[in-house]
């Protein structure tokens, strides 16, 4: 690990000022940052610890809820305002990592966690995301965990977050503060596909701090569900996951959310799948059709081709379980 300076800021403005300097990285739970520093993937010269900032509250926000960026994954998952009203969020969080990690991991850090692509995590390997223009060995190398949706010829790295998949399904908004003041970024615009600049992963600008996330009330939030498929029973990233939510009235789906995880370069809203559902009764047939629509345009590679079928089934199953549950 490269030696670095450490400072702890107690005021948001001080922290933002530090964030403008070169080589600064913010620290929240550290479960992504410190790991990557140990691997030599991140080499900040200064680490600015945000944990003393007053950004940890979870509270009602009109009909919705506001979640501080420093709230831990555990706090969010079990919070009474979340567990009942937004089951998909609670389920997604609890399917991630391990209790120890969830106790450390923050909401802001979770949104900004980096890909688990093994080549990215090995500084001795080329990787366009880590070192622009060095190449993408995952394309033709070992790519079992890589993405099939939202890929480019520069990068096929999967976005690993479970929580972000649920937040996208819930139309959440990410609130950030920078030199120029506050901005509100809808979840759908927060993460970006790699295109030709895989180093750019989010809409966050240099030095900006995520202050909180708001999740609105919605007709489908309460009828929502997360299904995660992985290589072992627990403590593994998703090979495929789906956050689904349905607003059903009069036996017909009024609105739907289908978001895929584990298979795409960013939390992946499958609008074609949603379209398959809306206006129809919630039946197994339309769930299968939604699954098929969700993976339309998928680009499989040598070791991850199975994800096409798996993602399809994940969507259909999540919808079936959701309707069965209600």
């Amino acid at each position: 690990m490269k030696p670095f300076a450490y400072s702890r800021e107690t005021g948001l403005d001080h922290a933002l000022a530090r964030g403008k300097e070169d080589g600064v990285r913010y620290l929240a739970g550290g479960t992504t940052l410190i790991d990557l520093m140990r691997l030599g993937v991140e080499e900040p010269s200064t680490v600015v610890d945000l944990r003393a900032l007053p950004l940890r509250d979870i509270k009602a926000d009109g009909d919705g809820v506001q979640i501080g960026a420093l709230a831990t994954n555990t706090e969010v998952a079990y919070h009474p305002l979340i567990a009942k009203a937004y089951p998909v969020l609670s389920e997604a969080l609890l399917s991630g990592a391990s209790p120890q990690l969830r106790n450390m991991a923050s909401v802001g850090g979770n949104l900004l966690q980096r890909t688990r692509c093994s080549y990215f995590r090995d500084p001795s390997s080329p990787c366009n995301k880590r070192m622009a223009g060095s190449g993408c060995p995952a394309l033709d190398g070992y790519n079992r965990s890589n993405a099939i949706l939202g890929v480019s010829s520069s990068c096929i790295a999967t976005h690993p977050s479970d929580m972000a998949v649920a937040l996208l399904a819930l139309d959440a908004v990410v609130h950030v503060r920078g030199g120029g003041g506050e901005r509100a970024v809808p979840m759908g615009d927060f993460h970006v596909a790699p295109g030709s600049t895989p180093a750019v992963e989010t809409a966050l600008q240099k030095g900006e701090i995520i202050t909180h996330v708001t999740v609105p009330a919605s007709p489908f939030a309460q009828r929502s569900h997360y299904v995660k498929v992985r290589d072992r029973a627990s403590y593994a990233f998703a090979l495929s996951s789906a956050a689904v939510a349905l607003d059903v009235s009069g036996g017909v789906v009024k609105s739907a959310r289908v978001v895929l995880g584990g298979v795409a370069t960013k939390p992946w809203r499958a609008t074609e799948a949603e379209a398959e559902l809306v206006g129809k009764p919630p039946t197994s047939m339309s769930f299968d059709a939604a699954g098929a629509a969700a993976v339309r345009g998928a680009v499989p590679r040598t070791h991850n081709a199975f994800k096409v079928e798996l993602a399809k089934r994940t969507v259909a199953r999540a919808l079936r379980d959701l309707v069965g549950k209600a």
Binding site: M1, K2, P3, G40, R116, S118, Y119, R121, D122, P123, S124, S125, P137, D140, G141, Y142, R144, V229, R230, D231, R232, A233, S234, Y235, A236, F237, L239, F306, E309, L310, R313, T314, A316, R317
Partner: protein
């Protein structure tokens, strides 16, 4: 007689130290003025180093030395292994790169932080060559390995397999594959090397074999063996990877000599995938054939395993096929292919773990062709004597393992049709397989000593690799000495103690236990002699046979009011202590017997029909392994083996990039092992077995048998649940979609 301690589920004598974090593992030994070393690994898999820029690394504050092939001392013995456990090591002797992660430089600094930072700044330039790691493409270049001394030959042939196959009623021909697996014990390999002057070396090393290490290092560095001391009080798991002296041990010693300081070298988790061995990938072709009633008429098992360019370790997967069933026509072979990879090594049940997956899967397939229950097929072909060595078994209670295991599991509830059992949405499957492992014994020595305060000290080199050696040796010694375990202190892990073999091949209990027992008995005999023939005392004048030892007190068998404590005997005779050292050889009767432990696994799996996720829901395993020395530590060995078997079946695989031969999955996030949620409660049946021939203590060793057969039992259960036969481990969900 003293109430026997052996067999009791005594808590680990080192348990408190372990759970309070006060057991001192090798890297934690406090050594004055210690410097920290970090290995720089190659980032290509084949070629030459053309330049090494160490300037930046050297400028990091606190850096003491940077060793490379340009300045490192020559170690002529590095590439000259002599013993079975010796490895060819890569210790900065030239510019050649033979595999990914090979040590190419060693940075030594005042702190670990400085050393690892400096290590990241060493810049190597290479002339890289094309590296090959795809085994299936090389299989045509397979060659027969030389037989290792004292080990079975690579090929075997009995009967006439072709003639038998021509008339067989049912037959299975299938290819099974197992991937590369890395051991990954919790404790990474670690060494502290301390050169005192030019010719004395102390090594605190996480090793399974202190004496093997001493021999290898003293030869390689041209030191007198008695001038090399290896100390290893606690080892956090080895599984075979710590059975050999790998490059890092040599490098630590080289660095200590070069810098004149004690040097600590603890390798990283990523380096656990680089140069400390692994279970090699295998491709196994099996033919199994039977007559209509299920009698096996032919077994053929052809194994190819992968190895490095410079070593010839072969995974002996087919050895189990030679002896497990009473089949008259059996042909087996082992071949090697060379790849541009690091060298493989022994991994918990080397050969048996991988080979039983193929053999026991093939038998399961055959049972479906025969429409016969898989357990009935095994019973039909039960080997009463060893068909390979043509000797009687020293003991074999496998039949009881089958019947007791099957009864506890409820095997009779199995519906024969695949995909016929369900639990809600889950598909349910039952699978079983036989387990076996050789019961070895090597020469071992031990010393027992009773002191004038009535306590005992018992010493044997040996190692406790987390298995419970401290505990069972204390129990064996206490019984032999006629004392209670509380008064017996057993110590190990030091080459100044009596010589013992490597803790590998499940032989420690057998070898060291026999020596400890005889040393304890010898001291007890001496004490009795003194009591009856020495100066005065209540037992004086009796014959030795009339005296018993009980909790450190000698008692007359006729008149139990007459007694004499060990303290009193020693005091009266003016002795500070009585000691005996025993050099125990292999038990003579072993020559005329085949010695193996046996077992049977019965496993239930549930498979998600949409996703192909496999969950092991029940395990009942029965073992007959001679005398069980401690039911608690033995159970831990069995379940530990089974958990690894579960990982072997469902999770573990080390992947390399086919274009560069570099390891891609090199941490525990990418390399999956089972987590708690994957492991159900396990029901372990320990079948009573008395074995008078296997060794002095009648125990067969339980360290490895647990893993054997689990891969097949799970694969067989998955087939039963789904109707899909997976012949390539691990059974990841993509293979079941």
């Amino acid at each position: 007689m003293t109430a026997s301690s052996v067999g009791k589920p005594l808590d680990r004598v080192d348990g408190r130290l372990k759970v309070t974090g006060t057991a001192t593992f090798s890297a934690e030994v406090a050594v004055a003025n210690v410097a920290h070393a970090v290995i720089v690994g190659a980032t290509i898999s084949k070629g030459k180093i053309t330049a090494l820029d160490v300037g930046e690394a050297q400028r990091v504050p606190g850096v003491v030395a940077v060793l490379t092939h340009l300045n490192a001392a020559k170690v002529p013995g590095a590439d000259k292994p002599t013993e079975m456990t010796d490895k060819v090591v890569q210790v900065l002797q030239n510019d050649a790169v033979l595999y990914d992660g090979q040590p190419i430089a060693l940075v030594v600094a005042d702190t670990l932080e400085h050393a690892s930072h400096a290590a990241s700044l060493v810049k190597a330039t290479y002339a890289a060559e094309a590296a090959i790691c795809e085994m299936d493409k090389e299989i045509g270049a397979g060659f027969a390995p030389k037989a290792a001394p004292g080990r079975p030959p690579p090929d075997s042939n009995r009967g006439d397999i072709d003639a038998a196959l021509a008339t067989a009623f049912a037959r299975v021909d299938a290819t099974y594959t197992t991937p590369c697996e890395n051991h990954n014990p919790l404790e990474m390999h670690a060494t502290i090397a301390v050169f005192q002057g030019e010719d004395h070396l102390t090594l605190y090393d996480a090793t399974q074999g202190i004496f093997g290490l001493r021999k290898r290092i003293s030869k390689a560095f041209d030191l007198k063996p008695e001038n090399v001391r290896v100390i290893s009080h606690f080892v956090g798991g080895g599984f075979g990877s710590k059975g050999s002296a790998w490059s890092h041990v040599f490098l630590a010693a080289m660095a200590s000599r070069a810098t004149g300081r004690a040097v600590k070298l603890s390798i990283t988790r990523q380096q656990m995938f680089a140069f400390v061995g692994y279970r090699p990938q295998t491709i196994q072709q099996v033919t199994a054939a039977a007559s209509k009633d299920g009698t096996l008429v032919a077994l053929r098992h052809e194994v190819t395993s992968a190895t490095s360019r410079f070593d010839t370790f072969a995974e002996p997967s087919a050895n189990v096929t030679r002896m497990l069933y009473a089949c008259p026509n059996v042909k087996t072979s082992h071949r090697l292919v060379r790849l541009d990879v690091a060298t493989p090594t022994f991994t918990r049940a080397p050969g048996e773990a991988s080979g039983s997956f193929a053999l026991e899967s093939a038998l399961d397939e055959l049972s479906y062709s025969l429409k016969m229950d898989p357990l009935a097929l095994r019973l039909k072909n039960y080997a009463e004597t060893d068909p390979d060595e043509k000797k009687p078994f020293s003991s074999k209670t496998l039949r009881d393992c089958y019947t007791q295991g099957a009864a506890k599991f409820g095997w009779s509830k199995r519906k024969p049709e695949p995909r016929s059992m369900r639990d809600g949405n889950w598909l349910v499957g039952f699978g079983m397989a036989t387990a076996t492992y050789p019961s070895r014994q090597s020469a071992a020595s031990a010393l027992a000593r009773v002191k004038k305060d009535g306590s005992a000290q018992v010493l044997a080199g040996s190692q406790d690799i987390g298995t419970g050696t401290y505990t069972i040796m204390t129990q064996i010694a206490a019984d032999a000495l006629g004392m209670s375990v509380e008064r017996v202190h057993f110590d190990l892990g030091d080459t100044t103690f009596p010589e013992t073999p490597v803790s590998g091949g499940s032989q420690t209990a057998s070898s060291v236990g026999s020596a400890v027992k005889r040393a304890g008995m010898a001291v007890r005999t001496k004490l009795i002699d003194l009591a009856v023939k020495g100066k005065g005392g209540p037992l004086n004048g009796m014959s030795a046979e009339q005296v018993d030892a009980e909790a450190g007190v000698l008692v007359s068998k006729q008149d139990r009011t007459k007694s004499d404590s060990y303290e009193a005997v020693l005091a009266r005779n003016g002795l500070d202590q009585i000691e005996e050292k025993i050099d125990e050889k292999e038990k003579a009767e072993r020559k005329d017997h085949s010695t193996h432990a046996f077992g049977a696994h019965f496993i239930e799996v549930k498979v998600d029909p949409d996703f192909g996720e496999v969950r092991v829901s029940r395990v009942v395993s029965a073992f007959a392994a001679g005398k069980i020395l401690n039911r608690k530590t033995a159970r831990s060995q069995f379940i530990g083996g089974i958990v690894w078997g579960l990982g072997l079946a469902l999770h573990e695989h080390t992947e390399r990039d086919p274009r560069t031969s570099r390891v891609v999955t090199k941490d525990l996030a990418d390399y999956h092992v089972p987590v708690h949620a994957d492991v159900p409660d396990m029901d372990i049946v320990m079948v009573d077995e008395v074995d008078p021939y296997v060794n002095e203590i009648g125990a067969k060793g339980v360290g490895e048998i647990g893993i054997v057969g689990v891969g097949a039992a799970i694969a067989n259960a998955v087939y039963h649940a789904t109707g899909k036969r997976v012949r390539s481990l691990p059974i990841t969900l993509d293979k079941l979609l």
